[in-house]
Symmetry: C2
Subunit: 344 residues, 2 copies
């Protein structure tokens, strides 16, 4: 059966047997018309090729079809990859993602939240800065639009989808212990809850396996420039003398990039082969980690599930799915997967 | 002299000696009031600490204070760095940047342009896909808002700020020739005008210096996944036998990441020292290029000037500067700088 053709809204309204204002009301909010009327319009939509002009409509709506995506930095390959996936999925769902970065700065994060509100986004998916975030900005955001956190969260009842740092760090620590010398842990500035959680899991796993833990504490002040932190601190350690260990677990891949570059500059051979000087492993598996020399052994975060859960949860909050809002889990913890490459 | 304090718009209008509607008109568009009135208000603004509520104002304006930034991919460290700089500069100028990526896909680029228009952005700064872009989408954009291209452009009169590929590639080819074996050129898929320009400059420079040119043509179809392209093609070449050359110039840093990883996997030593197997150089100096093993010798694009020129040009088009629109150059070409590191 060929689909019916309707060019204008009047045209389509007439064929549904409803008035144009009723049709308009339906497009603004399908639940605002009587159930029977809604069923009538939805059946007619399925039987025709009518495409409402959503751009024009959005301009007249209280809420747009835009979804704000807020991250600490787009130059961070982990967030770049997540933003990439979130954008594609949201577009598939008929939303228009808008990306805003806070550049690692609390004052720009507050501004970013205001910008999203001024753009009248329908909802938001955010990885807040964490430790330095102003909770009042996010409180205001949640009071106005549905919000889902990923990777990091601000205390409260907002749904959160993050990595299970307990599981992921334990897995890679156990792998390193059983395949060679137990690792020392290279920490990063504690910008959010992930870094202390990873550190705690390292210590707990080492103790449980009867090994002494050894932590290279970060000497950097608050910063998101992890490659530089890793390079400078590793370089300083190597200049000060020979290392007393042969295996390093870095708090994330970005730190490992810097640590590897400094080790290479000092002539150390990184790898898991006999004769190599140093094993280096990390956490995240961001998109460039397979291209380091040697390729980086790391715990892959579950990018696919983090994207799917974040968007599914937001769609439920927006009333776009059949799932009831009360079924939303307040915290979702995703397990990581060990990716064995040549660096450790 | 202490600045005068005004809390409300009425309050401030009264102190200027103008009506509230006139003041409102001025904030919407300073050119819409009489020059004398404008001068009066501007003098009063300088003498007081009055801050109009821009969020509230924008909601009532035809145009917002938002500027759209469109790039092919946020997972590309070159664009991530440019977006980062453009955002910070635009915020400094009192605008709110909105970032949209086209994910390397022409249909999403068309959608991105529509999204910017639906958000009523005041202007846009775009790096279009290039070869695969739909020119009609950008024509529509230029008809509606001031637009500036950076890195890549669509034919027409829109201002463009890009890299001087002729100068930059010639510089690094000459450096490689005078410091060792003349380079072969590793090409990428020609996604936009930069890749054929760089290739042409390589060939011309080699010919001018009396060397034979040798190009490793890309076998990949249209893609923006340059690290993968470099890895797979280099890996295939090394599996097929020994290389007949010792110096490679890659079309960009992302390609070099893949080429270096494949060379490393085959046990080749990259570097410019005696005994090293292969020199690898590239183009762009994106933020991670200093952390490869060894650090990548490359032509640094002038990120700072590209950002400054793009934003300055847009501000002029928006009437935010004293420079007349007719003084805007239609094409600005920025020279690159040789960054010598250990890879070549």
């Amino acid at each position: 059966m060929e689909k019916l053709t309707h060019k204008t809204m009047e045209d389509f309204a007439k064929s549904c047997g409803v008035s144009r204002p009723t049709l308009s009301k339906f497009f603004d909010d399908p639940t605002s018309v009587k159930p029977a009327t809604r069923a009538l319009i939805e059946a007619a939509l399925r039987a025709s090729d009518y495409q409402p002009n959503l751009y024009a409509r959005n301009l007249n709506r209280k809420r747009t079809r835009n979804i704000g995506i807020l991250v600490p930095a787009l130059t961070d390959p982990f967030y770049a990859e997540m933003v990439n996936r979130l954008e594609l999925r949201l577009r598939d769902e008929g939303y228009w993602p808008i990306v805003i970065s806070s550049h690692g700065l609390p004052e720009l994060e507050v501004e970013a939240v205001s910008t999203m509100l001024s753009l009248k986004v329908a909802g938001a998916i955010a990885a807040p800065l964490g430790q330095k975030s102003d909770p009042r900005a996010f409180e205001k955001l949640t009071q106005n639009v549905p919000l889902v956190y990923f990777d990091t969260y601000i205390e409260g009842n907002t749904p959160f989808i993050g990595n299970n740092n307990h599981q992921s760090v334990a897995t890679i620590v156990e792998y390193l212990c059983r395949s060679g010398e137990p690792p020392v842990y290279f920490d990063i500035p504690h910008v959010n809850h992930n870094s202390p959680e990873r550190l705690a899991s390292y210590i707990a796993t080492m103790e449980a396996s009867g090994h002494e833990h050894k932590v290279i504490k970060t000497i950097a002040p608050y910063t998101w420039d992890f490659e530089r932190v890793g390079y400078e601190q590793m370089d300083a350690m190597l200049k000060a003398g020979k290392l007393s260990f042969k295996t390093i677990l870095c708090a994330n891949d970005r730190l490992a990039f810097g640590v590897m570059a400094a080790a290479f500059a000092h002539g150390l051979k990184i790898g898991r082969k006999k004769g190599d000087d140093l094993r280096i492993a990390a956490h995240d598996d961001h998109p460039l980690s397979r291209y380091t020399c040697p390729p980086l052994t790391t715990m892959a975060q579950d990018f696919a599930s983090m994207t799917a859960s974040s968007v599914d949860t937001l769609l439920t909050l927006l009333g776009d799915t059949d799932a009831p809002v009360r079924m939303i889990a307040s915290k979702v913890s995703l397990d990581g997967t060990l990716v064995m490459r040549q660096s450790a």
